[in-house]
């Protein structure tokens, strides 16, 4: 490496790593915040779920058939149940459901059991069980779901057996007696689809955010403080200074992005455990050595491109405030480019791999699903490298411009 570049990279890195506040705010705080936030969300979600499970719903049943209570006992359905007669007014209860003080009202047609018992042939009356509940209330929804699936369904099955004697008459054939044995899937592709939606977007955003936070200070900040000009009077090429700045920024942005991604990967299961009660299996990833190299190369060129974009904006801006304003549209562009992978399930059209930013996101997505071709990879890396080289030369030109550097 060029001597000047090497020295500048060393200095820039020690500028950040010898500053405890910087290390804390750049690398430690984001990790703590993400893990903390996700854990908190997971715990809250978990608490909510167990709260609903533990809640004893208040249920009112009108015109209950004589054998219903026995059925409720055998299924073990737990609730404060009150039985009503046909003559009782249920309007107050409906208000109660509306206000969330009553969880469920079940109304059996009058003479429910008699109507069922009198059934002979098609066209004879069939009685109805009506449930009233509030979809905006978690307790109410849960009470209804549980009552229908546990009590009413069992009750219905019992009555059917009574009527037909042999339930097998109703089953003409089975569909998938063992559903798990039916699924034939490439586990890698399936897991990759889940991650493929999330990871390219996150990586792109985090890499750019890292470059944004550091780049503006390292370039516009130094310009403002007058410390950049001290380097401009030293006998090294402007290109070496630019290169040194970009490389050190790329290194730090990568570390910061890695911190984010690792924190998210660590925090995700905590969140998921809370939300699903730990039902989600571990999402595993397996890469071939070639894929690891491809991912690595894509990430390196992408980091460099983002750092270069931020640096170009930073060098053209006169103040840090100005730079932060100008960099926002670029940030939004990166977001838009990478959010497109959220909807799609992998792009295969080669021409699209020549669209910068989008191509990096979709390449990572395809890679996670094990579907990235060498042509797609080549197009992506080539496009990004060319763009990065153009931007680097523009930055060097800006460094050589007395108008930009000294406002002269």
């Amino acid at each position: 490496m060029l001597n000047g570049t090497k020295n500048i990279v060393k200095k820039e890195l020690s500028r950040v790593f010898h500053d405890k506040k910087m290390v804390f705010s750049l690398f430690i705080m984001p990790a703590v915040m993400i893990v903390g936030m996700y854990s908190l969300m997971g715990t809250l979600l978990g608490n909510m779920m167990s709260d609903i499970e533990e809640h004893v719903p208040s249920v009112y049943i009108q015109n209950a058939p004589a054998d219903l209570d026995e059925m409720i006992q055998t299924t073990g359905y737990e609730a404060d149940i009150e039985y009503l007669e046909e003559s009782d007014n249920i309007d107050d209860l409906k208000d109660g459901i509306f206000n969330g003080t009553v969880d469920l009202l079940v109304v059996f047609d009058e003479g429910f059991s008699d109507t069922i018992g009198a059934y002979q042939a098609a066209g004879d009356p069939i009685p109805e069980v009506k449930t009233y509940y509030n979809t905006a209330e978690d307790y109410s929804s849960a009470a209804r779901e549980s009552f229908v699936s546990r009590v009413l369904y069992s009750y219905q099955q019992g009555l059917l057996t009574q009527r037909l004697g042999n339930m097998e008459q109703l089953t003409v054939f089975f569909i998938d007696k063992d559903p798990n044995a039916s699924v034939i899937v490439d586990e890698k592709k399936q897991d990759g689809r889940i991650l493929g939606m999330l990871v390219p977007f996150l990586l792109n955003i985090m890499l750019f955010a890292g470059a944004m936070g550091l780049g503006v200070d390292a370039i516009t900040g130094e310009k403002e403080r007058g410390t950049l000009s001290s380097m401009l009077v030293s006998p090294i090429k402007r290109g070496e200074i630019v290169f040194g700045k970009l490389i050190s920024l790329a290194i730090m942005s990568s570390i910061s992005a890695a911190v984010y991604v690792v924190s998210i990967v660590v925090a995700m299961p905590i969140l998921m455990n809370g939300a699903t009660g730990g039902e989600l299996g571990a999402v595993s990833l397996q890469f071939s050595p070639l894929e690891v190299i491809m991912l690595f190369v894509i990430l390196i060129v992408v980091v460099y491109l983002y750092v270069a974009i931020v640096a170009l904006i930073a060098v053209l801006a006169r103040t840090s405030k100005e730079a932060n304003t100008y960099v926002m549209p670029a940030y939004i562009l990166v977001m838009l480019g990478s959010i497109m992978t959220y909807a799609g399930t992998g792009d295969t059209k080669l021409a699209n791999f020549f669209i910068p930013i989008y191509n990096s996101a979709v390449s990572i997505q395809n890679l996670l699903m094990g579907e990235l071709t060498l042509a797609q990879f080549g197009a992506t890396v080539l496009t990004i490298s060319v763009l990065a080289a153009i931007i680097t030369s523009l930055i060097t030109r800006a460094f050589n411009s007395e108008k930009i550097m000294f406002n002269a």
Binding site: R15, R225, S229, S230, L232, V233, K403, F406
Partner: protein, 258 residues
Amino acid sequence: MIIVKDLTKVYKLNKKQMLELKTKKSMKKALDKLSLEARPGEIYGLLGPNGAGKTTALRTIATLLKPTEGEVKVCGFDTVKESEKVRKSICFLTNEIKLDPQFSPKYMFNFFGRLHGQDEKAINERREKLFHYFGIKDFEDKKIDELSTGMKQKASIAVSLVHDPEVVIFDEPTTGLDIITARSVTEYLKQLREDGKTVIISTHIMTEAEKLCDRIGIIINGVKVIEGTLNEILVETKSEELEDAFFELYKQHNREEV
């Protein structure tokens, strides 16, 4: 050795700058055919009011600005075509160029020593010598951010001299310094002269110019109106003091512009 020949520098003004300067012209001539020569073993003083073009001249010599017309040669190298070689042999100190406040004077000294391609042994020897001279040893490991203005200026001077340059360019070297620090700076400039270095400074402090400079050039509105030793200038303007001479010249030449 610094040779400035017919140096003209024209700035393009944008609309905002035109408004600020209350002018309708989109160009501002900061320097108009400036020629001067600063030789080894002498201190050349560039004198002028604010906005006369002193800093522009020094920045052009230091390769930071490119001449619109004319040429500047430092130690025989052209400041445009051989700017790196020029930067190797100069040190340039100005108020706008500062040391990174997050580092210590020692770190910055070593850093710039390495940028100048010096080996560690030479850097350490030079640092010992300069830090001792300017009394920086006691705070060499402190962050520059925590230093007082005078200490910062001393550190800047020491760091700028890390590569023992042939040509020393100081833009208002004593501005903002207390008498004691200012004295140590001027004493060092004298020592550099003894060592046969070429020193060029800009100043608007007349007494400093009187005491320090071997030759003085006065610029007003980008034009050099007089050049010579203190005596020559006093004789030519028929004045007792440099300050009187300066006012005399200012009255003459500033009126012409209006």
